[in-house]
Amino acid sequence: MALGDKSVYSPLTTLKNLFKRPMTIKYPKEILRVFPKEGVSPNYRGLHTNDLEKCVGCAACQRICPFDAIEMKIIGQNEQGRAIKKPVVDYGRCSFCAFCVDVCPTNSLKMSRHYIYKIKTVKSLSAKDEVEFVKDKFRIMPDEKLGDDIGYNTGKAKKVLG
């Protein structure tokens, strides 16, 4: 068996890497080009996007969420006096498993290919307020803002759950 033979010169053959192109992607300037779409994969599970027109506020996503990350927020009342509810995603809990997208009956909740969401701590806030500030900032009501770059979406494919 070839394995197990040793040679002082074998490791030195790695030096030919010096003349190869590095595998590094210069991140802010370059992006990944291995998928049919550039950047992340076409069905990436990124931040949520929600078609508020289509969303009926059925709270199916809230029930399936394994980590209690979705909360139904009342944003107004309809003509019958019933409350209109829309989901608010807490990214402090969300694990991007996309079960909520799978169960959405109207297919309004989707996931976009955007993934960067960061919060800088404000220097002037006191220590206690800062905790609440960050927590608050991580609760977002998904809307159509990221809708032009849809990632994970079970609309076309067969529904997975339910």
């Binding site: 993934y115 960061k118 701590t121 220590a127 800062e130 960050v134 991580f138």
Partner: protein, 153 residues
């Protein structure tokens, strides 16, 4: 980090000990036993120092929000400069956060370590509150017995 997402391009590299570190990366959930180590590591780092919390778990408990052994919010125990969402965050997101942190340091925006000194009581109180849970159940009695045993000798 890997060859593809080479962070050494920005002069960022892992250091072997907290004494040589500038930035503490808390990558995900923090159990009570780890919290003790994180606080110790953080206090060992020389100033100026910064904390980058990433993953959802450091903000509101993440997927372990109902676990009996993890803390839900890192910022209650040590001051955090920048928080990134994701579970796990992509390498790009981490690099983006590191670069933002670099910009913040340049503009003087990042100075959470000063908060630790100013609000030392607040942080200590929070830390004590959860770390009390990690004391051995037979705790004080056992220690007293041992002390008694040694004094007899």
């Amino acid at each position: 980090m890997t060859s593809r997402w080479d962070v050494e391009r920005f002069g960022i590299g892992p250091m072997a000990t907290p004494r040589q570190a500038d930035v503490l990366l808390v990558t995900g959930y923090v159990s009570l036993k780890t919290l003790k180590r994180i606080i110790r590591t953080y206090e060992q780092m020389p100033e100026p120092k910064w904390v980058l919390a990433f993953g959802s778990c450091t903000v509101n408990g993440g997927i372990y929000w109902d676990s009996y052994n993890t803390i839900t919010n890192l910022a209650e125990y040590i001051p955090v400069d920048i928080t990134v969402s994701g579970c796990m965050p992509r390498p790009e997101a981490v690099m983006d956060a590191l670069q933002t942190l670099m910009k913040m340091i340049q503009s003087g925006e990042a100075g959470a370590y000063k908060k630790y000194k100013e609000n030392y009581e607040y942080y200590k109180a929070n830390q004590d509150r959860v770390l009390r849970k990690t004391y051995p159940i037979l705790g004080e009695k056992l220690i007293q017995n041992e002390e008694a045993a040694t004094s007899i000798e």
